[in-house]
Each structure stands twice: as C-alpha cells, then as structure tokens.
C-alpha cells in the first residue's frame, strides 16, 4: 500500500472517530457508544504501554537486570539487584482486594500519603510566602484598593467557625461572595476562548485535512 493511500485511510478513520463523538451532541446512540468503548480501550492500553516503557523498564527492570548480571559476573554495580524488593512491595497494592489482609495495602497507601504530606510543608512556604509578601500593597491607587478589599472580603467569606455577629464581618463576607462571582465570571469568560480553540482545531482538521477545503 502506498504511503499516500494509507495516509488517506488514516484521515478517514480519524474523521469517523471525530464524527462518532460529535453524534452525542444530537443524542446518545450506538455509534457513540462504540467509540466510547474504543476510547476506553486505547486510553487504558496506552496507559499500560507508557507505564512499562517510561517508568518500569528504565527505572526498575534495567537497573535490576544490570544488578543481577553484576552479581553473576562481578562487574558493575550489584546494588541494582535490590530493586527486586520493589516487586513484593509493589504487590502490596493488591491486598486491597482481600477483606482480611486489606491493611497490607494500607501500608503502601500510607507511605504515599505520608510522603505527599511531608512535601506539603515545603510547598506551603515556597508557594504562599511570596504571595503574602506581594499582597503588601500601598493603598495608593484604585487598583491596589480593589485588590486589598477583594482579598480581605473573600478571605472573610471562607471563615467557617464563628458566627457572623459583627456587621463588618457579615457584610464583608457577603461582598466577598459577590467578588467571588465576579472572579468566576472572569474565569468563565476566559475559558470560552480555550474551549472554542479546541473546536476550531477539530474543525480545521475536518475541513482542511479530511474534506480538503482551503482554510480561510
């Protein structure tokens, strides 16, 4: 098969996939359901492929193999063989299916959550301190006044544990919610562009690559 013909077939397949998904916009149908499942198949399968080729093979399999050959031949670094221990440790995840030994899987969950938690401290200081310092704005321009007012009011909105008896706090929190709505609106408006560009990309594919129309 010539590369050109193959290329045409590929474009056709892609176009059918695209239209299959878009058919959902009309209503749920068998055609869509088919591509829904195809998608689950490829996405899941690709996850398996990348996990092996990008993580397990270079970071675990190769060093382990090198380690064992070092143990056998006496050349190189034998410590890599210790990676074999990752196998029983990694299989601990699967105890989650056993009702009796479920706690074994919790050990590894705990390990990950603990590490994440430990890194949390560094993230807090590194991420929030510059933000806090740059909030020290002199109230010398309308922008800075709006900024500080918004900051204070929105923070007031997120206090949960005391009654809002004080009028300043109560109104501040209400204004905070309004300002949040403004921020949400701004984010929404901003997202319109992002979403449109996705569709435009697809549209250009269908129009130019598939149907061969010249783009405007």
């Amino acid at each position: 098969m010539s590369p050109h013909v193959w290329q045409r077939i590929e474009v056709w397949v892609a176009a059918i996939c695209t239209l299959g998904i878009y058919s959902f916009l009309y209503r749920e149908n068998r055609f869509y359901r088919f591509f829904e499942h195809v998608f689950m198949g490829v996405a899941g399968g690709w996850g398996i492929v990348t996990t092996w080729t990008q993580v397990l093979r270079p970071m675990w399999w190769e060093p382990m193999k090198a380690g064992f050959s070092a143990v056998r031949t006496g050349h190189g670094d034998p410590w890599g063989a210790l990676w074999v221990l990752a196998l029983p440790l990694g299989s601990m995840w699967y105890f989650t299916y056993s009702r009796r030994y479920v706690w074994i899987s919790r050990v590894i969950f705990g390990f990950f959550m603990g590490a994440t938690a430990g890194m949390g401290f560094r993230a807090f200081v590194g991420g929030q301190m510059p933000q806090l310092v740059s909030s020290f704005k002199p109230l010398n321009s309308p922008n800075n006044v709006v900024f500080v007012v918004t900051l204070v009011c929105v923070m007031l909105y997120f206090f949960f544990s005391f009654e809002r008896k004080n009028a300043v706090v109560r109104h501040g929190a209400t204004v905070g919610r309004w300002l949040l709505m403004v921020a949400f609106g701004a984010m929404f408006g901003n997202t319109v562009m992002a979403r449109m560009s996705l569709f435009i990309e697809r549209f250009q594919f269908l129009a130019v690559q598939w149907l061969g129309l010249k783009g405007g």
Binding site: L25, T50, V55, M119, R122, V192, A194
Partner: protein, 288 residues
C-alpha cells in the same frame, strides 16, 4: 394589535428556550463562516505576552560574548487535548530562541508535547543555521513527580543522562557548563495543567530563575497573581498568547488565523446571551 403582541411574546418566550441542538448548529456555522468570507482584525499585544518575549531577549543579551551560554528550559507538558492552544505558543517561543541563538532544552511530562516541539525546532532551525546538539537539545518525555523535579534542579546532567537519541550529555556541546538549575536563567513551561506551580514552589526560591508560562486560557487567570508577585515573568494566554507572539515575531501563523474564528464564536455567544436576557426581561414583564 393584541394578537401581534402575543406572537411577539411567543417569540421572546422561545428565545429563552432554544433547543441546544440549534445552538450547536449555529456554532458550527459561525466558525465555518470565515472560511468563506475574508475577515481580518488586528492583534493587540498585551503585557503578559511581552513579558515572555522580554525574558528571552534578556537571556540573549546576557549570553553575548560568553564562552558557556546559559540555557532556557522548555517544558512541554501538553498533549493532544490542548494542542490548539499550546502548539502555537511552543512554536513561537522556539522560533524566537532559534532566531536569537538562545540555546534551549526540551523536556516534558507528556509524551506528545516534547515530540511535537522537537519537530518544530527541526523545521525552523535550518532557517537560522542552528543545529541540534549545539543550539538545542531534547530530553523527551520524563516522569516528573515532585521528587524527580527536586533531583533534576540539583544535578541536571546527572538526572537526564542521555538525550532522546541516546547521546550522553557529556557529548552534547550545548550542555557544556550546565550543572544545575542556576545555569538555567529561564524556564518556559508550556502546559495544559498547573505544572509550573511546582517549579515556582519547589525550585525557584533556591535557584532564582525566571519562569514564563504558556498556559491554556482556562489556567491563565489563576496565574495573574504570580505575574503580579514576579514569580512569573511572562504569561501566554491560550491561543491569544500564541497569536500575539506571532505578531511580535512578525510571523503570523495558525494562531493568528484561529483568532478570527474565535472572534466569530465569541460574538455568537454574546448574541445568544443578549437574546436570552431580552427574552427573560420581556417574559418577566408580561407575567406582572
């Protein structure tokens, strides 16, 4: 007259409840329109985009006459999902660096972004007589959790070891004099997600590099505070950022064209919202 008023209200009532499928058709029409009618609207360059441009210019100036040139790290943390936005951004910054002779390395936490970025560089490089290994290098996809990031910034050659073609770092001229993140004065993260956060949080306080972010329009608003605090020195906002950068480079491309289609789609949404609201007000008045 009364009859006429009724049909009027009927129209506004209906304007409030248009079936979504008609909306979808309208959207397709709006986007297709510029393919047939020529419409062009000038692009305005905002400060956030200028910031990225200036940062690269800054590296170019600092490198002048130095034996070991400092590098820019381009993280391509994007995949097919955000190609429409991230592609033009990546292409523009790579174009800029190749034009100015700023050496850079490509890497990413997605398999797709780095591959496509490499292709862009291959395509543009000959125009300016730049060569792989001397002016730029690609390390491809890397698994990059927080721990990996921390080890990367500490010892770059030790972490990457080989480039995508399997060449050891020691044999790449462009990597000469690059040890840790303090040899990389600028990070450009083009991403669909919040990956740049981690660089700012975990590495920037120690290594003091500048960071620029090629963001999807969704992510962008969250990063204005970083721009304000100087943690980010530039921000490319979605397709708009790409189009503005193309404008700065004087090389209009995919994003510039896309922005015209954008304009049409946005006008449609605006028109629909106005229509719905008129319907709502008229309807409320009628009920009174």
């Amino acid at each position: 007259m009364a009859h006429r008023e009724n049909t009027n209200q009927g129209f506004w009532q209906r304007a409030q409840t248009i079936d979504r499928r008609y909306l979808f058709v309208l959207l397709v029409v709006a986007v297709a329109l510029p393919s047939f009618v020529r419409i062009s609207i000038p692009v305005h360059v905002f400060d956030d985009t200028m910031g990225v441009y200036r940062s690269i210019e800054g590296v170019a100036r600092a490198n002048t006459g130095k034996r070991y040139r400092k590098m820019v790290l381009v993280m391509c943390d994007w995949g097919p999902g955000s190609k429409g936005e991230n592609w033009p951004q990546t292409e523009s910054v790579i174009h800029h660096m190749l034009r100015r002779g700023v050496p850079f390395m490509i890497m990413g936490i997605d398999t797709v972004g780095p591959t496509l970025a490499e292709g862009m560089a291959e395509r543009i490089a000959p125009r300016y007589g730049r060569r792989y290994g001397i002016d730029w290098v690609s390390f491809g996809f890397r698994y990059f959790g927080d721990p990996q990031l921390l080890s990367f910034v500490k010892d770059i050659p030790g972490f990457v070891q080989r480039d995508i073609h399997g060449t050891p770092v020691a044999k790449l001229p462009v990597m000469a004099g690059i040890h840790d993140m303090s040899d990389v004065p600028l990070l450009i993260d083009v991403a669909a997600g919040p990956e740049v956060d981690r660089w700012i949080r975990l590495a920037q306080p120690t290594y003091r590099f500048k960071a620029a972010f090629g963001a999807t329009a969704v992510m962008a608003p969250a990063y204005y505070p970083y721009l304000d605090s100087g943690q980010l020195s530039g921000l490319l906002v979605g397709m708009r950022g790409g189009a503005e950068y193309e404008e700065l480079l004087g090389a209009p491309g995919q994003a510039t064209q896309g922005m015209t289609l954008q304009s049409m789609a946005h006008l449609l949404v605006a028109a629909l919202v106005i229509l719905g609201n008129i319907g709502y007000v008229v309807g409320r008045r009628a009920r009174r």
